[in-house]
Symmetry: C2
Subunit: 246 residues, 2 copies
């Protein structure tokens, strides 16, 4: 048996999220189904770096599983491309140590959130961007990002639906905004993220950008440790799990 | 009554083409249905600059129709955005003279064809690009484009399924390739295009790029006036009706 790691891309638009659930189409189920076919019906269980919600995309989700097959990267990709639906793609394949774990060994994760700030939506990227018509104060949002960076208790930026019982202290190593024309990309890197954390961070920072909130709100929200204190959860379609570092 | 002109964008992926037909979802039908609702059930007939095939996209299709309504551009857009499916968008609206015709008054049309030349597909643009894995000789394809420009009888580059009886002489005012990284954009401008003409041109030029054909084939194909002489029809998903000039 060998342990194999895949970097995968998926278009979250038509998925009820990454993780298998009773109702709805999931990325995990499609992957396990395809892998099982490739293994002549033998069930294959995969583990991912973490879940993503319904509608959230991945440019660099990482999964691993054990297999008796010995295939080169190109052969894994071509064998699976005919077994997978067109909204999942294997981007890279490598063999890892038998004790590698896609979730526990993840050192840092990067998420990106795409905002299209213009009168009309970016039509051909409508499933991959959040459209905001009103002008955004980018400098204010950049200042807000600076206040997010570092080690904080992010309880206020965690969905109340979480089932995490332990500490909600996390470290954001980088929070910044790349702007190019009408496109804004929010880039967040950190050692760990809570449920809906990036979307609540973006939703709150956008309220700063729309000047519905002042920058001073940010440290106040962090201190309150109360989801009600933060802004709205930004829509899932703008969010990408971009990269997982090991 | 006023005559109104719309510039529209659509994602051809889930359409059986622009023009209304017995089976299948069409852009024209969706537009007429939405406009009829806006006119309290009164049927509205629209005319377009031309048809597009199943799977072909539009960045700048132009239609016109007559209406008793007097709405500002923003109001047309917002009223229709809730009545149209999410794969059609009104990009611009203006009032035109009562004798304006979107098809007969078109002076020049521009089509663009997107090719993604890399090992793996451009996943998040998979519905909007044609993926070619093998290396392409761009210089040879650019030479082929030069031979396409000008006035020619394009019978060889017209689908045999056409119902045009008259002359197949057309003028291509510009044929060129813009390259940036793995993306190639074929740009064609002309006074008129035949059925499947851009896709057959691209399919044939790609065969030159793959060195399956020599450049000398191009004048020979034109001279033969026979669809069988030209290359394959490139897939519809890479093609955009980009712009119509009046």
């Amino acid at each position: 048996m060998k342990r194999v790691r895949f970097k995968i891309e998926y278009d979250g638009t038509k998925f009820s999220g990454y993780q298998i659930q009773h109702n709805g189409r999931t990325v995990q189920e499609e992957l396990e189904k395809a892998l099982s076919k490739l293994h002549k019906g033998k069930p294959i269980k995969i583990s991912a770096s973490g879940r993503t919600d319904a509608g959230v995309h991945a440019k660099g989700q990482v999964i691993h599983f054990d297999t008796p097959l010995e295939l080169a990267e190109f052969n894994w990709k071509s064998a699976l491309s005919s077994l997978l639906p067109d909204d999942i793609q294997i981007a890279a394949v490598d063999e890892v140590d038998a004790d590698f774990h896609s979730r526990y060994d993840a050192r840092e994760k990067e998420y990106r959130y795409y905002v299209w700030n213009a009168q009309d939506p970016d039509f051909f990227r409508r499933h991959y961007t959040c459209h905001i018509r009103r002008a955004l104060n980018i400098e204010a949002m950049r200042d807000a990002c600076t206040l997010i960076e570092g080690e904080h208790d992010f309880t206020s930026f965690c969905s109340a639906k979480t089932n995490i019982k332990g500490s909600k202290v996390r470290t954001i190593t980088e929070a910044r905004i790349a702007a190019s024309g009408s496109e804004l990309v929010f880039i967040f890197k950190g050692t760990g993220f809570l449920y809906n954390m990036v979307r609540i961070l973006v939703g709150t920072i956008l309220e700063v950008g729309l000047e519905e909130r002042s920058i001073d709100d940010i440290p106040r929200i962090i201190q309150k440790r109360d989801r009600e204190a933060a802004g709205k959860t930004a829509p899932s379609r703008g969010l990408f799990l971009w990269k997982v570092d090991y």
